[in-house]
């Protein structure tokens, strides 16, 4: 698994899934902490395979959606389940705390 680059207009369809959590990383090329969180997300995408899907949206390529979602800082991670935003994480997180956080969300929202 890896992080898949998508356009802002793709979010709704992917977010609708209810058999897994959809994570969208809103990122930018000029943002230092975004560069730092990228490898964290890459490694977690392998560890959480089948439970959490990882996507990223460049806010400069999709300004309309970033604005609609109220993104005013990057990186911002939005987590979706069944078409609903279930959580939002702003700023850099290390792999350990982010994995624990995502596992908790998956345990709460996914059955079986």
């Amino acid at each position: 698994m890896a992080t898949t680059r998508i356009k802002g207009s793709d979010i709704d369809a992917l977010a609708a899934r209810s058999d897994r959590i959809t994570l969208v990383d809103f990122t930018a090329t000029w943002c230092g902490p975004c560069r730092m969180i990228h490898p964290v997300l890459e490694s977690l995408s392998a560890r959480l395979k089948g439970r959490v899907d990882f996507y990223e949206v460049d806010v400069d390529q999709s300004p309309k959606e970033a604005n609609q979602l109220g993104i005013r800082g990057v990186p911002t991670l939005i987590l979706y389940h069944g078409g609903r935003e279930i959580d939002r994480v702003v700023g850099f997180r290390d792999a350990g705390s982010l994995e624990a956080h995502l596992t908790g969300l998956a345990d709460t929202h996914l059955t079986g």
């Binding site: 230092g32 730092m36 109220g70 005013r72 702003v90 700023g91 850099f92 350990g96």
Partner: protein, 324 residues
């Protein structure tokens, strides 16, 4: 956005990272410079660069006062320093120190995943932005509240933003924000600025900047419930007469100082009441085998060039301790 949490507690260390002569905790200019010197002294050196390699330097859009560079991006300078430390022979791990204690064989340093034993330790963990501690600050973090203009300024194109603070960082960031925002309101609790005269001149001659002197920020307000909601206004108070006003605003950038990142080292070395590492003779701490360099120690000037100088001196002090 930057990580504001210091010394987050995770699961206990499970792997042995091994033994090392000099362990450098930190990922800013003090740590990289110490790595360059220690590598050239042929000390077995490991840099635990933490979760934010580059430190505050990497988050600074332009450095104008590092000799030899009249205008360089902080990220670029940090990247170059890191490469130089690695070519000199220092190893780098992007791991964060969680705790440090004195052991029988040296200083025992634990990260979230490993435990190292070092014959000497250099604390170069820098400092994290200080928060205001007012209502709305946490609720709107990432929704209009920011501690990093370089990261978040582009989201405030043609909007009205507030900057809190009066030091060099506040003024540099306010000037940078004018490249995006339609108006930058600078709120300062005093009636004069601490910032360098050259920055003060630029600030006062910029027609996109409005100064609110002798004013403090009491509360950040906005729309918490809707998905696209964020900061909409702030409540301000005059220091002079206590009068309160509400100001419509789209973003609040806070630059009121820094708190030294010393949490893992409490109990190992003496700290000042402000939480900085107490030093004598520049980089020496209360323990002979622990040194401190850069913004983390009790120093009166926190600059890239002074952090770099500290790093060189600390590496030399460690070399003398270990090899002479």
């Amino acid at each position: 956005m930057i990580d504001l949490r210091l010394g987050v507690v995770d699961a206990p260390a499970s792997r042995t990272g091994g033994e090392v002569e000099l362990l450098i905790a930190g990922g800013g200019p003090a740590a990289w410079t110490a790595g360059i010197y220690a590598g050239r002294y042929r000390l077995d050196t490991l840099i635990l660069a933490g979760h934010q390699p580059g430190g505050q330097l990497a988050l600074t859009h332009a450095i104008e006062n590092f000799p030899g560079h009249s205008n360089v991006s902080g990220q670029l300078l940090a990247d170059e320093m890191r490469k130089q430390a690695e070519s000199a022979g220092a190893r780098v791990a992007e791991d964060q120190v969680e705790s440090a204690r004195a052991g029988e064989e040296g200083i025992v340093i634990a990260t979230t995943s490993s435990e190292y034993t070092a014959r000497a330790l250099l604390i170069a963990t820098g400092a994290a932005p200080r928060k205001l501690g007012i209502p709305g600050e946490d609720a709107f973090y990432g929704r209009g509240v920011s501690y990093c203009g370089t990261c978040d300024a582009p989201f405030f194109r043609d909007r009205r933003v507030l900057v809190v603070g009066g030091g060099d960082t506040a003024i540099k960031e306010a000037l940078y924000l004018t490249e995006y925002a339609s108006e930058v309101v600078v709120v300062h609790r005093r009636d004069e600025l601490r910032a360098e005269p050259v920055l003060r001149e630029r600030l006062l001659s910029n027609d996109r900047i409005t100064m609110l002197w002798s004013t403090t920020l009491l509360e950040i307000r906005g729309d918490e419930d809707s998905a696209s909601g964020g900061v909409t206004s702030v409540l301000l108070e005059s220091v002079r007469d206590g009068s309160k006003t509400t100001e419509p605003i789209d973003g609040v950038f806070v630059f009121i100082g820094w708190d030294p990142a010393t949490k893992p080292f409490r109990g190992l070395v003496e700290l000042t009441p402000d939480g900085a590492v107490s030093t004598t003779g520049g980089v020496r701490t209360s323990r002979p085998d622990v040194f401190a360099a850069g913004d983390v120690r009790d120093t009166d000037l926190r600059q890239v060039v002074t952090a770099a100088a500290d790093g060189a001196r600390a590496a030399f002090a460690a070399y003398r301790l270990l090899r002479e």
